[in-house]
């Protein structure tokens, strides 16, 4: 095997191909429609000719000599008995026919006009705009000429009958010309003064001889050319009718051959690459067999590809055509066959032409021909070229594992055994490499393949592994299994943003699912109800380095969409920190140690106090242990709680979603931006562990009884709803009396609907308030809603108080029967319950009618989601396609790949969304900087220089290496700065 310099594709040229080139590149001419002979061997000069390439393993290609797999195949060709039109170019052919002279082939434009259009074309090219506009304008202009400006030949209109027939429309003398003349000579019945035109008058008016006029009138002489025009002028009649002269493809080809190169250029066609006559096919290239492989069915029968079927049709008709023509068949038969050939070639190129019945398979399924192979989502472009299938990938169900770091992923051992990484054996890793090979493909950190220095690849098997291990030496390559600490790419579809694909470090685990820490669910939008995810093992050192530095989960903590953290505590973590810090509970030493057990904290701080001689620690204190010592933060959570953190100690406030949650938890956000991503990662991991311990300490469960409210509260709710009903009834009465004042711009009906909706909304809200008043603060549902862990007070209202109005299309439910929603109600009943107000709570249970209305509202939501996903998916695809080329440059501009400037500074100030807070108007807190410089004393010059200078971000490349070598040490290192 010889080494070849890798070649790179520099550019791709597009053009039409000359029939001569087809013949030159063709491996063989195809003349028989048969594929295989009785012995199952391909027939020479048939559609499966071995010179077209090989698909059966073991056979040798007769053109290039290589075997299937390494032979790409070779084109053949069919000599068409007569030229046929290429369907893809029918519009252009029509334009060219209309714009050029039928006699001399020149473009029907004066040299000045030509010049003008050529300039326009050039300008278009410079501006990168669509050239077809100039072409259209030029054709429109050229079409106006009734005579060729070059040779003076009269031009006729061209009619195009889709898909591939062209007519030349000529005006010829009508068959009934004498009748037309006679009727024009009759006197006008409405005008008594008119005595008609006598033949002698006519002769005088038209300037023809009287005898000639008489001959014409008697039908003995046909007035053509000048005579006809004179008569038409004299009598003011039209003596012509349209005659359609069909243009055969051969005529068109001859016509196009006459068009000079310069004229084509004016139309934006490049004559050096594409001559117009090449749009009429005389030779048909036959795709290599590798492009249309036949498959052998289980019963030994061969099934041919759609393209092969189409080619068989073409060859059959082609042959019949030739035979008939040689036999001197009548013109009519020839034309029929010609049309049939045209049909088959047309459908070979595109089988979805409107107006043409698609060519069908025996089963009735339309054939998938050339155009259909390229088009659409599963087509060649989007399906095979833009989206490629890859090796070294795995997919399985995901499940949670809170003991993993958020940077890690648990990989099942059987996956780890299939995915490999290439090890270049050197003196330093020789021992390990040998051990991997010795372990074989079945043992876990084993190897699947080895590559000798001479390039030969050997499979490691259970049998040869011991033997191979001895042979491994420096210079070999070993494809070893994935082991702990390897970097892999992890992805969940739909990949809507860049956090949908992140790099994780492998932790090999038993069982069959991928394991991930629950805090990475938000970026992936994953849950564990059966979601599957994909994993890719990286194969080059560059890609592994890039993945570690740029793609690791901790590097993606901040979302570029809103510039805040997207990874943080979720659900039970938040309930946990809330319980831990709300009301500041006290813990004994054992309890405190137990809470911090899963974290890297191994010493307790000074106890907060003593209770009956026993020291105790508070929840806030324990939470503060996770914070770096130099953290100062003050913010108001959305629950209205003032959270104050001073020097790494939580002084006051409750830690809830606004502090540690995903989607902008203040503490996580500040750590990631001000401290380091590593510190933030450590914090999120530890908060999750601590919170889980805390929630287990307190115990947390929710049941149906947690949503029940006392009887008196129920009565109050009923009362509130009843009074709302009364108010609605009042409104209806006012409306029915015709006294309802309509709101500006609304009809009375709409006003009534709005007012009723408003009343019922209020009723639900007051029911909610009543219910809320009766819930204890330690009610789990309340805890979850308040802390932001899950659910809202509205959910709670619906469970305990009243579900409320059901809506379809933003209105009360108004559909169903004529004048009523259900047959249970009187027609035109406007009351609340007849239009989908659900007065019961979920806990109390819905009546059948309420249930039905509720299902209507629910159904709308489902339909909405279904429609939305497809629409937004398309929007996303378009946006990405339009913006994918834009990139920030060294000079701060944003340009596309051709260098066009789109923005001089990204986002007007050149700052990155992940590095500044989106909530602040200014990217930098100048106040704070000034305060530090003017007021604060720096203890040393270095500290000052550090404050003034730029911050070098540390590159942390592994969970277990570098600054965060182990979890405990990393905490200390980080918290010191």
């Amino acid at each position: 095997m010889s080494m070849q310099t890798p070649k790179e594709i520099g550019a791709i040229q597009f053009g039409l191909m000359d029939p001569e080139t087809y013949r030159d590149m063709s491996a063989t001419k195809i003349i028989t429609a048969d594929t295989y002979d009785d012995d199952g061997y391909p027939i020479d000069m048939g559609l499966m000719d071995p010179r077209l390439g090989v698909i059966d393993p073991g056979l040798e290609c007769r053109t290039c000599g290589s075997h299937s797999g390494s032979c790409n195949g070779h084109f053949g060709h069919i000599e068409l008995a007569a030229p046929v039109i290429h369907v893809g170019f029918t519009k252009l052919i029509r334009r060219l026919l209309r714009a050029t002279c039928r006699d001399c082939g020149r473009l029907s434009l004066t040299p000045e006009e030509q010049e003008e259009f050529r300039d326009g074309l050039q300008r278009n090219e410079e501006l990168g705009e669509d050239w077809t506009n100039v072409l259209k304008a030029a054709v429109r202009q050229a079409r106006k000429a009734s005579r060729c400006p070059h040779c003076g030949a009269p031009q006729h209109d061209i009619k195009h009958e889709k898909p591939t027939t062209y007519y030349e429309v000529q005006d010829v003398l009508a068959g009934d010309y004498s009748e037309r003349i006679a009727s024009a000579m009759q006197p006008d019945p409405d005008n008594e003064d008119d005595s008609g035109v006598s033949p002698s008058d006519l002769a005088e008016d038209s300037g023809l001889d009287l005898s000639r006029v008489n001959d014409i009138l008697s039908g003995e002489f046909r007035p053509v050319g000048e005579d006809r025009k004179k008569l038409e002028k004299a009598l003011d009649v039209d003596l012509t009718e349209e005659d359609m002269n069909k243009l055969m493809p051969s005529d068109i080809r001859d016509w196009f051959e006459d068009i000079p190169d310069e004229d084509i250029e004016t139309l934006g066609i490049d004559p050096s690459r594409s001559r117009p006559e090449w749009m009429i096919l005389t030779v048909l290239p036959v795709p290599p067999v590798t492009a249309r492989p036949s498959i052998t069915l289980d019963n030994g029968q061969r099934s041919e590809d759609d393209l092969t079927h189409k080619l068989v049709d073409i060859i059959r008709i082609n042959q019949r055509f030739m035979e008939n023509r040689e036999a001197g068949a009548p013109q009519l038969i020839i034309e029929d066959l010609w049309e049939l050939l045209q049909y088959h070639v047309t459908t070979f190129v595109d089988n979805e032409i409107s107006g043409t019945p698609p060519a069908r398979h025996r089963s009735g399924r339309p054939l998938k021909t050339l155009s259909q192979r390229l088009k659409g989502k599963e087509g060649r472009f989007r399906g095979s070229l833009s989206g490629k299938r890859v090796n070294f990938s795995a997919r399985t169900v995901i499940s949670p594992d809170p003991t993993l770091s958020l940077n890690e992923v648990g990989v099942p051992e059987r996956v780890a055994r299939e995915m490999t990484q290439t090890m270049n054996v050197s003196e330093r890793n020789l021992d390990r490499a040998q051990q991997y090979v010795r372990n074989g493909p079945e043992g876990h950190p084993g190897a699947n393949y080895v590559k000798r220095p001479d390039g030969r690849r050997l499979k490691v098997t259970e049998k040869n592994c011991e033997e191979l291990a001895e042979k491994i030496d420096v210079g070999w390559e070993v494809n070893r299994h994935l082991i702990d600490g390897d970097i892999v790419i992890f992805n969940r579809q739909p990949s809507l943003h860049r956090m949908s694909i992140m790099a994780h470090e492998v932790v090999v685990m038993p069982y069959k699912t991928f394991r991930l820490n629950t805090v990475v669910c938000p970026p992936y939008n994953a849950d564990f109800d059966g979601d599957e995810m994909n994993m890719h093992a990286l194969q080059t050192e560059e890609s592994r380095a890039e993945a570690r530095v740029l793609m690791r989960v901790q590097e993606q903590l901040l979302s570029p969409r809103f510039g805040e953290n997207i990874i943080g505590a979720i659900q039970d973590h938040i309930s946990g920190t809330y319980l831990l810090t709300n009301g500041n509970p006290e813990f004994t030493e054992t309890q405190a140690l137990d809470l911090l057990r899963a974290t890297s904290i191994d010493t307790l701080p000074e106890p907060a106090g003593e209770d009956e001689g026993e020291p105790y620690w508070t929840g806030k204190q324990l939470f503060s242990e996770l914070l770096p010592d130099d953290l100062n933060l003050e913010f108001t959570s959305s629950a209205g709680d003032e959270v104050v953190i001073e020097d790494g100690q939580l002084v006051s406030g409750t830690i809830d979603e606004d502090a540690v949650g995903a989607f902008g938890g203040e503490v996580v956000d500040t750590l990631a931006k001000v401290h380091s991503k590593t510190r933030a990662r450590v914090f999120v991991n530890e908060v999750a562990s601590l919170a889980m311990r805390a929630i287990m300490h307190f115990g947390f469960s929710i049941g149906i009884d947690d949503e029940s409210i006392p009887g008196e509260a129920n009565e109050q709710v009923d009362e509130a709803i009843a009074s709302a009903y009364d108010r609605v009834q009042e409104l209806i009465e006012i409306y029915e009396a015709g006294e309802l004042e309509s709101l500006p711009g609304r009809t009375v009906d709409e006003t009534l609907e709005m007012k009723i909706m408003q009343q019922l909304g209020k009723a639900r809200d007051s029911a909610g308030e009543i219910a809320e008043d009766h819930f204890a603060d330690d009610n789990p549902a309340v805890v979850m809603a308040r802390s932001g862990a899950r659910g809202s007070m509205l959910n709670l209202t619906q469970m305990a108080g009243c579900v409320g109005q059901q809506a379809v299309r933003g209105e009360r439910i108004n559909r169903g029967y004529e004048g009523r929603t259900l047959s249970h109600y009187q027609p035109n009943d406007l009351s609340a319950e007849a239009h989908g107000f659900v007065e019961n709570s979920y806990r109390g249970g819905l009546t059948p009618r309420e249930f039905f209305f509720h299902a209507m509202g629910g159904r709308e939501g489902l339909v909405d989601t279904a429609v939305r996903t497809s629409k937004s998916g398309y929007l996303q695809r378009r946006l990405i396609n339009a913006l994918s080329e834009l990139e920030a440059q060294y000079d701060g501009t944003v340009r596309d790949t051709s260098g066009t400037v789109v923005q001089f500074e990204f986002g007007e100030d050149g700052t990155s969304p992940v590095k500044v807070s989106s909530s602040e108007d200014n990217p930098i807190d100048v106040e704070n900087v000034a305060d530090r410089i003017l007021d604060a004393e720096f203890s040393s010059e270095e500290e000052k220089a550090e404050f003034l200078g730029r911050k070098e971000l540390p590159t942390n490349i592994s969970e277990y290496a570098g600054p965060g070598l182990d979890k405990a040490r990393s905490l200390e290192v980080e918290s010191d700065d």
């Binding site: 791709i12 893809g88 709101l743 429609v867 913006l883 080329e885």
Partner: protein, 414 residues
């Protein structure tokens, strides 16, 4: 915007100007110094230095694929939006398309939005006085005959009778004192529009078809209903609202219109053209130019996101989308008929939509694909020239030129 600060002298300015900072940040520094009653030069330099360092730290990195990130940042919240077309935005009385359909409408750069709408701010006394504000309203709102009086059809005499309401006329034509003049004007408008002769006595206008015909008579009534007697045809309704004025801290009347006729409205007396906007980006483009159109795209997109509670999307992403839509000096849509369809690369166009046509046209035109972009390189299997793929290191041979001093380091981008 060169404001003068009492405590910022030219020396301080010179020091701050030395640092390469955006204008807004410089002003922030001046303001901060001002607040602190001035600083000495060394401190000023230190402040500027520290701010500059932080600014440099927060800049986008070179080779950041900002386009893809922005596209994702707008596309991803699209999945969370509602499809519900009609909801009430700000003004309860006017329906505006919202959510995903509106977002799609914006990036499609539709010629007319589904629900065109304008926010018209007023000047001076027009903004303060309800009566004066109403004057502007009557000039904008299309007034149809039904708003002015009653129509009755007399089938026996083949006559359409319009009985104008004097009060309404006085209200809608506040500048004209004589009701008769107004009625005459209306009669003439009818004559011009329908091509019939009218008879008028006071506020009663009568007319009929030339030749007795029931069909023509009914047709006339139908046509009469569509005639606009006053105002702008495109504006079907105007709502006045009292709002707080951010600038003056006072209250002012703001008009919201259903339908949009931006150019016409700007020239109406009393309209504050500097603050009036339309949600039709093409109208803004025609009247105020492409920069204003860009601004409108950003504002409208942000407003659409805000309405859905997704206003945490960073405005920089919206800016980039608006910038690429207006990059060629006119509004281009995002998609087949706009940016994606006019890309230089044949393969990129073919991979997006209408694959076959693009290939055939490219062949006829003799196009060449230089494989500069992202999609083309994915197709041919080359590294993409974006992000880390855009960095090239040229290895200098130490042996050949005697030392590493001459090693050429050339960033590949140009």
């Amino acid at each position: 915007m060169t404001e003068t600060y009492a405590h910022v002298d030219d020396d301080v300015r010179a020091i701050v100007e030395d640092y390469n900072l955006p204008e807004s940040l410089r002003h922030r520094i001046y303001e901060t110094i001002e607040d602190r009653g001035g600083v000495d030069l060394e401190q000023a330099d230190e402040i500027a230095h520290a701010v500059s360092s932080r600014y440099e730290d927060s800049r986008v990195e070179a080779h950041d694929p900002v386009g893809t990130v922005s596209a994702q940042s707008i596309g991803e919240p699209g999945t969370q939006m509602t499809m519900n077309t009609f909801h009430y935005a700000g003004v309860a009385e006017i329906d505006v398309t919202q959510g995903l359909p509106r977002l799609i409408e914006l990036v499609d750069a539709r010629k007319t939005p589904d629900t065109p709408m304008m926010t018209v701010h007023l000047e001076d006394e027009y903004a303060e006085n309800r009566e004066r504000a109403h004057e502007v309203v009557w000039q904008m709102e299309a007034t149809k005959i039904l708003a002015l009086g009653d129509i009755s059809t007399n089938v026996a005499d083949m006559i359409v009778q319009v009985d104008l309401n004097e009060e309404t006329l006085a209200e809608r034509w506040p500048t004209v004192d004589d009701i008769d003049t107004v009625a005459q004007e209306i009669a003439e408008t009818i004559e011009d529009a329908l091509g019939v002769d009218t008879r008028r006595s006071e506020t009663l206008i009568e007319f009929g078809p030339d030749q007795p015909s029931y069909r023509r008579l009914l047709q006339l009534v139908e046509e009469l209903r569509d005639i606009v007697f006053k105002g702008l045809e495109d504006i079907s309704r105007v709502v006045i609202r009292k709002e707080e004025n951010e600038k003056t801290d006072g209250e002012e009347f703001v008009l919201y219109t259903e339908g949009s006729a931006f150019g016409d409205v700007l020239s109406i007396e009393g309209v504050d053209a500097t603050r009036t906007t339309s949600n039709n980006i093409h109208e803004v483009y025609r009247n105020l130019g492409v920069e204003a159109a860009r601004e409108t795209i950003i504002n409208e997109t942000m407003e659409t996101l805000r309405e859905q509670g997704l206003d945490d999307v960073n405005i920089r992403h919206l800016m980039l989308v608006a910038d690429i839509m207006t990059n060629r000096g006119e509004i281009e849509s995002i998609g087949r008929h706009g940016i994606s369809g006019s890309k230089d690369s044949v393969l990129a166009r073919a991979a997006f939509e209408v694959t076959v046509n693009h290939l055939l046209d490219a062949a006829v035109h003799g196009e060449e694909d230089d494989l500069d972009g992202v999609i083309e390189n994915v197709i041919v299997g080359k590294p993409v020239s974006i992000g880390t793929g855009d960095v090239d290191l040229r290895m200098g041979s130490i042996e050949a030129d005697g030392g590493a001093a001459d090693v050429e380091l050339e960033p590949s981008d140009d």
